[in-house]
Symmetry: C2
Subunit: 402 residues, 2 copies
């Protein structure tokens, strides 16, 4: 396999991307920007690694097996798909020649292959580099939490869309105002971000009272706080609810930050937190054509003990299958969590106006509504779900040009 120095064609093809293209720099098959500086001032082979020194005083030691694996030449990465073609199967042949070319790294391997690396790309990826991310970290709601509001017209601008996405990923909830009273507008907004995630209730659902409901949401009763579809192994990540009509008395929307309340529970009653996070229980939805069930704890923690998911839905909680001696304690813990979630300290409420939309993280933020009187007017919401992956992808793409 001979090396291929990127041809001028490829350079030209990349000139219109966000990367700060240096005509002397190797093409890195990357669409995310990497810095043009600092350049390298020294590079040398040391045992099975390359020692790199940048102009700003930073240094790194990268194993040659890593460098060979990341060669960006067009035999090692597919020209169109940018995917890796090189397979790190055999013990890599050693580098025999290292040199700097206009401050960038050039390596000649024992089999003749040539690898070129942009200094800024390596700098961004040196093991000591601070982690970079276009995604905001999660932030628990404070006592005075007020949702970010974005005007409908603004989400069609990069700045407005970025603000909307960042608030949703950071706070788990964001509002949109002043949209049109147009059927399926919720789907149009969703599809700008990614495909709607379909469930047993369809890709897009209507929330209004209807005859022969197969779900409490399709009645006019009040809905205590809950997450949607905890009976799925993977409940929907993000829910969008768009208001088309809201003339009925009542029906205000309710929300609580489940992660924040779970942390409060952990502080107030560690044993209750332990029971809800360690004991898996059953959730199940059944109708004539479906029986969708899974077993999982109400509070899910990752390996570090951090809360990563809430499953809370009293309607589709199935038979509690636990050792008999743990049942009473489990119910006490459940009651405690329920009471905290519904206390005014942690619950926010507002009435969605027609043309308004709320988007929230269904695996973190619980939602509900007050009862409404269907005889006093119509109430009609349209909803859909999105995968979190699609929101994150969108933010990364927006960040390319920011």
């Amino acid at each position: 396999m001979n090396s291929t120095v990127p041809s001028p064609d490829i350079l030209t093809a990349h000139l219109d991307t966000a990367n700060p293209v240096d005509p002397h720099a190797p093409v890195m098959a990357e669409l995310m920007p990497f810095p043009a500086a600092p350049l390298l001032c020294e590079a040398r082979i040391d045992n099975e690694a390359i020692e790199l020194y940048w102009e700003d005083g930073e240094r790194a030691r990268l194993p040659s097996v890593w460098l060979r694996d990341h060669c960006p030449c067009t035999t090692c990465r597919h020209l169109q798909t940018r995917e890796r073609l090189f397979i790190p199967l055999d013990e890599p042949v050693p580098p025999i020649e290292v040199q700097l070319e206009a401050g960038h790294l050039q390596l000649r391997w024992a089999d003749g292959h040539l690898s070129q690396f942009a200094a800024g790309w390596l700098y961004q990826r040196r093991p000591e580099a601070p982690a970079e991310s276009a995604l905001p970290p999660r932030k628990p709601w404070c006592e005075s939490f007020t949702p970010v509001r974005v005007a409908h017209a603004d989400i069609f601008t990069p700045r407005g869309e970025t603000a909307w996405l960042e608030a949703l990923l950071r706070d788990g909830l964001v509002l949109l105002d002043g949209g049109p009273l147009a059927d399926e507008e919720v789907s149009r907004i969703a599809e700008r971000i990614g495909p709607q995630r379909p469930t047993n209730f369809g890709a897009r659902f209507d929330v209004r009272s209807k005859p022969n409901p197969n779900n409490a949401a399709y009645t006019s009763i009040g809905l205590a706080l809950h997450t949607d579809l905890p009976n799925w192994r993977q409940p929907p990540d993000i829910q969008l609810l768009y208001c088309l009509q809201n003339e009925a008395e009542g029906g205000e929307s309710l929300f609580a930050d489940g992660f924040q309340v779970a942390e409060t529970l952990r502080q107030q009653a560690p044993e209750h937190f332990r029971l809800l996070s360690e004991l898996a229980i059953d959730f199940r939805f059944q109708d004539e054509t479906q029986d969708i069930a899974t077993r999982a704890p109400i509070i899910e923690c990752d390996a570090n003990g951090e809360v990563v998911e809430i499953r809370f839905n009293n309607w589709i909680r199935d038979t509690l299958r636990l050792p008999a001696e743990q049942m009473a304690a489990w119910y006490r813990a459940y009651r405690h969590f329920w009471t905290l979630l519904h206390s005014p300290r942690y619950q926010i409420d507002f009435a969605l106006a027609p043309g308004g939309m709320v988007a929230f993280d269904n695996r973190r933020v619980l939602h509900g509504r007050r009862a409404f009187d269907p005889n006093t007017g119509a109430r009609h919401l349209q909803g859909t779900y999105l995968d979190r992956d699609m929101l994150e992808s969108r933010l990364r793409v927006l960040a390319r040009n920011s």
Copy 2:
């Protein structure tokens, strides 16, 4: 809240379901069958629990808080949705009267509420009952593993569809033969089970070589074993690949049971298994409109150390971000796993015939294909994804009537 004894209307409404209806038994708002026998021969209140004795000698002690929570009356469960309306918020009022009614349990609570439980329903749910499931356990491939084949016509019968679903959940792979050469037949088969899960490649995708591919699958090159979309937090569960044309030379399909090979790795080299299961790495797909990325280990284990997911895709493995001193060891472990996966001992291959379809568990079974020569004939597959939840639901519904 007064109790409501189920009305004759409700009993009638349930008479056409799969439950073995005893006209004297309480209605349990359940669509899954529960046994009509054994009946109860004794029940008594003991402290904060009820002691139950069945005719066959089995017994159980159920906390009264559990019984109150599971009351199936129409004020405690919604008549149409079958969802729980009762909220176990306050310390439950104690039962003051217990009696058997034709062998079924009847409890009167201190507030006057009446709860009736079918003896067989309680029997099925007693804490000592063996777990029941319509779902087959996973079974690793043996050396002589041959995929189950189901005729296309048979999946439209309950027996054939059950066989197809069971093989898919048990073996992680199943074949369908003799289907029509009809565009989108794969979508029709999928939609019988559940909604197609859309991704950045659409709800349904075509696999054939095409100009300007954004993915290696859309070229004619050989594809080493991989899982699809490991760069998503939640890669698709189940993949269906339907063959419409396969006249090109080459292009045979390749598969390996990733769970089985991971176990082999764990036995042969525990340290390699540890590196691949404990060190999260990055996966990333980027094109002009998407940048979908996540960080996860190649082998994911649950809290008990059992393998629950494989993410393996050399094309979209992103920059390896690990402490420099772990990189060389990680590459050795990766090479070991790669070599095992592709060895004839663990890899099966076959040519899909037009009208044939392979379905497999994308989070367990790796797939690939040999290179083909697009000049020797056409090769055209259509694919889609399904959620595992939908397959399990379908099997449970089929089991209602079996």
